[in-house]
């Protein structure tokens, strides 16, 4: 798919930067050219891309390359940081009226954006938060719209207020608020008809609703697959009606979702939720970092960088300790166990390999090749050893192996194989004692490429 070839392209561009030590203007330009294309392919609006790229360029040129990252990764990091901050905040919440007063929410958007579905999903979500929502059928135009809302309301057990298709949406909204007050509903959600942002008459209708009832939150529902025109739509709705937040629908598809960035950039209004599926419970919180990853299509290269950074700080002490022991030529089963733990902290081998750029495509093969179950087995074998055996590998003998095999619940041949592997590793460690003398950002993880653990 186009998706993968683009990731490839980016990675190739970043490869060119890899061997160089500094983040020069030329490097940044090369990398950002690919980033620009990636964003355009993801449907981020052209103007938004232009602005974004130039602001990143300013930040990136001359920036310090963090320890442990190559210049390419550094550019990705900056691009990603910028994307995340542009798309945030993470915990945007709907604002409710204080006390017992009714909060009125108006949903709006183009035809087919998924308003009716999102409306019911939102009601379901509010219900779980202890609100008493009322759904209101203000779409008097689309055949079947009222019925659709009624059925959805029934499914999520939220009452639906409707007056057929002969009354104006303004009158329906007014009556709905009276109805809500009588029936003790504290949130009223108006489902309005889909409309084009250039349809003056229809846009006027939304304005009239706002003039006649107190709408506290106006939510624009945007299809995650929208193309370049997302900016025009969002701008028009925001300028003419005024919106307070956005729901991004159809995020369970495979669209890269660049519209999210476009809409956020032009309206500055938070993305509140994302619609993730057909089921009416599928309305999820919005995570700017996940969205950034998705739009950029860079695999999870960044979470790898972050994870490595976090873990290395924690493990620095252990690593230092281990390094000094290794320098003396000591490497026992405890060290082996420790190094395994470090690998685990990074999220398991196959997940690490999956996250590495260039590796992503082959993750499936690697999952087969490196067996997490086998890691567990190895761990069980070491844990079945006595403290003495762990600290002094030379103690190992046939009866001991037999006991360990029983303890670990494996055949003795498995223990034999492991002990042999361990001895090989031990030899290898002695041959290159410099391995663990890492600066921050290298250490165990930095050595991963050069050192093979016989797991």
């Amino acid at each position: 798919m186009a998706f993968e070839s683009l990731t490839d392209k980016l990675q190739n561009a970043f490869k060119k930067l890899k061997s160089k030590g500094l983040l020069t203007e030329e490097d940044v330009k090369v990398a950002l050219k690919e980033v620009k294309m990636a964003l355009l392919e993801a449907d981020v609006n052209f103007k938004v891309v232009k602005q974004f790229v130039s602001s990143v360029e300013e930040r990136a040129v001359g920036a310090d390359v963090l320890n442990g990252l190559n210049p390419g990764q550094m550019v990705v990091k900056i691009v990603n940081d910028e994307l995340v901050s542009l798309m945030g905040p993470e915990n945007a919440e709907l604002v409710f009226q204080p006390g017992k007063s009714i909060t009125t929410i108006m949903m709006c958007g183009l035809q087919g954006a998924g308003k009716t579905t999102a409306t019911a999903k939102l009601a379901a979500k509010l219900l779980t938060k202890g609100k008493r929502p009322l759904l209101v059928a203000c779409d008097i135009y689309r055949p079947g719209a009222i019925k659709q809302l009624q059925i959805n309301g029934e499914k999520v057990k939220v009452p639906v207020f409707e007056m057929g298709d002969k009354n104006s949406p303004v009158d329906i909204a007014k009556a709905a608020l009276e109805h809500a007050a009588k029936n003790d509903n504290n949130v009223v959600i108006l489902d309005t008809a889909g409309r084009l942002h250039i349809d003056d008459e229809m846009m006027e209708e939304l304005i009239r609703i706002k003039e006649n009832v107190d709408v506290h939150q106006t939510i624009l529902v945007v299809d995650a697959m929208t193309g370049q025109d997302a900016v025009t739509v969002a701008e028009d709705f925001n300028e003419r009606i005024g919106i307070d937040g956005v729901i991004l629908s159809k995020m369970d598809g495979d669209a890269r979702g660049g519209a999210a960035l476009s809409v956020k950039a032009v309206t500055q209004k938070p993305i509140l939720f994302v619609g993730m599926g057909e089921k009416l419970s599928d309305l999820e919180q919005f995570y700017p970092d996940r969205m950034a990853n998705r739009i950029l299509g860079m695999g999870d290269v960044l979470s790898l960088i972050e994870k490595a950074e976090e873990n290395l700080e924690i493990d620095e002490e252990t690593t230092k300790d281990m390094a000094s022991r290794l320098k003396k030529g000591k490497f026992d089963y405890n060290d082996y166990l420790e190094s395994m733990k470090q690998m685990r902290n990074l999220g398991g081998i196959s997940s690490i390999l999956g996250m590495l750029p260039g590796m992503g495509l082959k993750t499936k093969d690697l999952e087969g090749a490196i067996d997490e179950d086998q890691l567990k087995q190895t761990e069980a074998i070491i844990l079945s050893m006595t403290k003495e055996e762990r600290a002094n590998p030379k103690l190992m003998s046939l009866p001991r192996k037999g006991r360990i095999a029983k303890g670990a619940g494996v055949d003795i041949s498995v223990v034999n194989r492991f002990v042999k592997q361990f001895e090989q590793t031990q030899k290898m460690m002695k041959q290159m004692p410099g391995m663990f003398g890492g600066k921050k950002g290298r250490g165990m993880f930095g050595g991963l490429g050069g050192m093979k653990f016989p797991f």
């Binding site: 449907d43 609006n45 052209f46 059925i151 370049q228 025109d229």
Partner: protein, 285 residues
């Protein structure tokens, strides 16, 4: 939609990199996509060289004709309208399948054909009511089932009815489904086989409906739906907004699937047979 390119050609005195960049920008802004836009610009570069073109204004006709050529329909593109046919309408949620079917029904009915609709969207709440309303407006008959019923059984019933009544056109409405949901796509495949088995001798038209405001994902949609059945064309809806629907150019160029109809509004008459010249001219007006 109009005035897409109008500014560029007047604004440049010579053909330089900025000029090409701006054409690229305009194309991408119209959702034509990076790859196809690049191809179009490269083609123009070659033509400029070959034909020793000096002024930007001269490029206009070349660019126009390039896109027109790509978008032009085969002569027999609408042949199915003159035969007994079944139109299998598929697409993701919210693109306007049901509305489009209503418009198609009205169009064929007005041309004197006997039309039957199959409400095989048994998933979305009130989908059959919506199609039923369109059937009323168009004055055609419809066969429907219950919500949650196997759509294939509704389709089967419709086919029996179509045979008995000797209708000219059978139009099948299906539930919107995202193209990356395997089980739903399998269901569609089943319906496809069912038509093959039980209604084999009529002309088969398989149309995917795409939302004109959709970006590059429309390519994925067209690609995935063509795995289910051999697409004979697509319908571009919501072309009355400010979106250019340039993804149609990309689909035509990359997948060789032609646009057959475009939806330009909410009225029952707001559906047009696609005309490449008209479409492209409107971009350059």
């Amino acid at each position: 939609m109009a005035g897409f390119f109008s500014k560029i050609f007047g604004g440049y005195k010579q053909i330089d990199e900025d000029f090409y960049d701006e054409i690229f920008e305009k194309l991408v802004t119209g959702d034509v996509g990076v790859r196809t836009s690049n191809e179009i610009v490269e083609r123009l570069r070659d033509q400029v060289k070959e034909n020793h073109i000096k002024s930007p204004e001269e490029c206009r006709e070349f660019l126009k004709n390039n896109i027109k050529e790509q978008m032009r329909l085969d002569e027999d593109a609408f042949a199915f309208e003159k035969e007994r046919s079944v139109i299998f309408v598929i697409g993701i949620n919210g693109v306007g399948k049901t509305t489009t079917i209503g418009k198609l029904a009205a169009m064929y009915k007005n041309e004197g054909k006997r039309v039957l609709l199959s409400a095989a969207d048994t998933f979305r709440a009130a989908a059959a009511e919506q199609l039923g309303e369109w059937a009323n407006r168009a004055g055609v008959e419809m066969v429907s089932g219950k919500e949650g019923q196997d759509p294939s059984s509704v389709l089967f019933d419709t086919i029996q009815s179509a045979k008995a009544k000797q209708v000219d056109v059978l139009i099948v409405d299906t539930a919107g489904r995202l193209h990356n949901k395997k089980n739903l796509m399998d269901e569609l495949e089943k319906m496809n086989r069912l038509i093959n088995s039980y209604y084999p001798l009529v002309h088969r038209e398989n149309l995917v409906v795409l939302d004109g405001t959709t970006g590059q994902n429309a390519l994925n949609q067209a690609r995935e739906f063509s795995e289910v059945t051999k697409l004979t064309g697509f319908i571009m809806t919501k072309m009355d907004g400010t979106a250019r629907g340039g993804i149609a150019v990309a689909i035509q160029s990359e997948l060789k699937i032609p646009v057959k109809y475009i939806g330009v509004g909410e009225k029952i008459t707001d559906l047009k047979r696609f005309n490449a010249d008209e479409y492209v001219d409107s971009l350059f007006e």
